[in-house]
């Protein structure tokens, strides 16, 4: 794996203005605040967090589908290099063929009135990437086979397929323009476990064979642990911890990461922990708490945490932690 980043962001912010009252200050939702990541070429980059953490918005910002308010985002696949904030016109069109998205709900993502062949071919036709119908058909068949769909499937309509098959159709459509970068937003969350494993294996296989880079967004840490090389944990729009997957799961440092891990129900019926769990819910991004955004739920919050917002600190080995107390807490067991 080369170490050059495919996507690099520095201090990326996404803000949504709120329509406020007539008087008083205008409010904004800081959905993503000051996020800096390097997504290495050919990696499977996991982004995890609860609903409201900003993970989907971040993914959309990288696809130019969310209003970026500040910071930088650069895409560089070796052939093309784009500043994602300044990009437009022909460049943007080219970028759209290089960066694609897979959605969560395979029932909502496919038009019921198009055959599977037309669904998969649509990106090619819209972006005019092929010269003839024969070439389009060739590309569709090739990618369909890779996603384990057969010729007979191509003639049918989506309603005839199960959830797992539909998700394979969505994947085929995302791949048909031969992208380099895929944002997969909760791509397996709506699937049954037996099917989920199949789709995860398929994504890894495609990533390896086609040299793709994935931003894999999920709320499920065990899915992330199985698929990703590198993981970033988000909370209320901020990164709280980033590390190679192995490091993160073996030695989580941020109290939020620890709490997320301990909240996963264990398969061992005798491990029914009544241990300390996170209290409360994620605060509203309209009115975030001062200081560390996690202090309202953190069992280790001190006075400083309520006043000062921690920056991501380098802990060595590509492990970064945004917690004022992580060094002193390094030896405490998980918060759960």
């Amino acid at each position: 794996m080369s170490q050059a980043p495919l996507i690099e962001t520095r201090g990326l912010c996404v803000h949504y203005p709120l329509r406020g009252g007539l008087f008083g200050p205008k409010k904004v939702v800081r959905a993503v605040e000051n996020v800096s990541v390097k997504i290495t070429r050919g990696s499977f980059f996991g982004l995890v967090g609860e609903s409201g953490s900003g993970k989907t918005t971040f993914g959309r910002a990288l696809l130019r589908a969310a209003p970026v308010a500040g910071g930088e985002a650069v895409y560089d696949d070796g052939e093309a290099r784009y500043d994602l904030r300044a990009i437009g016109g022909a460049e943007l069109k080219d970028y759209r063929s290089r960066a694609q998205m897979i959605f969560q709900d395979p029932y909502a993502a496919l038009s019921p009135r198009m055959t599977v062949r037309d669904i998969i071919a649509e990106p090619l036709e819209v972006m005019k990437l092929t010269k003839s119908r024969a070439e389009t058909d060739e590309r569709v068949r090739e990618i369909a086979a890779r996603c384990r769909l057969n010729l007979e499937h191509l003639r049918r309509f989506p309603h005839a397929f199960s959830g797992g098959q539909r998700q394979r159709i969505s994947i085929a459509r995302a791949l048909v323009s031969r992208p380099r970068f895929i944002v997969a937003d909760e791509a397996v969350a709506a699937l049954d476990v037996s099917i989920q494993a199949d789709v995860l294996n398929l994504l890894r296989e495609i990533q390896r064979d086609m040299g793709l880079t994935f931003l894999f967004i999920s709320h499920d840490l065990s899915v992330i642990a199985h698929t990703c090389d590198y993981v970033a944990v988000m909370y209320l729009g901020r990164l709280v911890e980033t590390a190679p997957a192995r490091t993160l799961f073996a030695a989580p440092r941020h109290p939020y990461t620890k709490a997320l891990l301990s909240a996963i129900p264990s398969l061992d019926p005798d491990a029914r922990g009544r241990a300390q769990k996170l209290e409360g819910e994620i605060p509203s991004p309209i009115d975030p708490p001062p200081g560390c955004k996690f202090h309202t739920r953190c069992p280790f919050a001190a006075d400083a945490c309520r006043e000062r917002e921690p920056a991501l600190e380098d802990a060595g080995g590509d492990h970064h932690i945004a917690c004022l107390r992580w060094r002193e807490l390094a030896d405490t067991p998980a918060a759960g």
Partner: protein, 332 residues
Amino acid sequence: MSRLLDVENLTVQFDTDEGRVTAVDDVSFSLDKGRVLGLVGESGSGKSVTAKSLMRLNAGNAVYGDKTAITLHLDDGPVDVMRLKSAKEMRIVRGGAISMIFQEPMASFAPALTVGGQMVEQLLIHNDMSRKRAREISIEMLDRVGIPDPVKRFNQYAFELSGGMRQRAMIAMALSTRPKLLIADEPTTALDVTIQAQVIDLMKDLVAEFHMAIIFITHDLGVIAQTADDIAVMYLGRLVETGPVRDVIRRPAHPYTRGLLAALPRLDDPGAALEPIPGDIPSPLERPGGCVFHTRCREIIGDVCRGEVPCFRLVEAGHLAACHLHEGECAS
């Protein structure tokens, strides 16, 4: 431990444009008072239809099998659920002795009524009490499930509550009539893990406090391992394995249960390959003959699986599996 519920030979079919579809096929199980039964299966397995049958809540095109019998053993004597006719008679299983909570709490609150208004309404339907008393009980319940400032929440609408709070309010509403059986249909699936952990703890506390039985429906084996005493695994409308939760999770006897466990990403072994169950769940319109699982089974023996419906056989004490891999006499 005394018996609360007996379900015998439950068969549910639906009349559709494409013909009669079997959703639940000859399912029998029982539940004792104060026990938690985890009903596990993937989408299309019939677990929700099974649960709704207990409250006779299936859609109008549902056809129940002739041999179906559901008996609820209450203090005043047994109730034959299949014999209930009028809406008034059915109140006993609809919010009276049985309550249900759902995956999507937003869908179980009427958007135009306040949370409190709905709680009071259902208390008045099932009990002879004053409006004032119903209001007191409702606020007490909201407080009990950990909702801060219950008086304020009582007067709010469901959309004003966060997801976790709504789920708590729904639990409060379901429990305020003091049901003997709570059916929880994927109650934590739409929640974040940290909130899921809170709701699971809350439900465990409430079971102990109210001495009710729970049927916990989920596709998440981890949630079952943390909550249930017993487990029943369903596939395509049939029960395939039942037993104490420890035994079934540690020594799964049916290839489908083994497949579910092998497909699960595990945090304790992130490097392990995930093994999907081959193929897709067949359409209910094309239910396979013989063992319903034979089209996807890795351990298929041969024609016996294709041609003969396996009976339940005892694998160890209290642990049954319906699979031809196991020999011996059929359990009754």
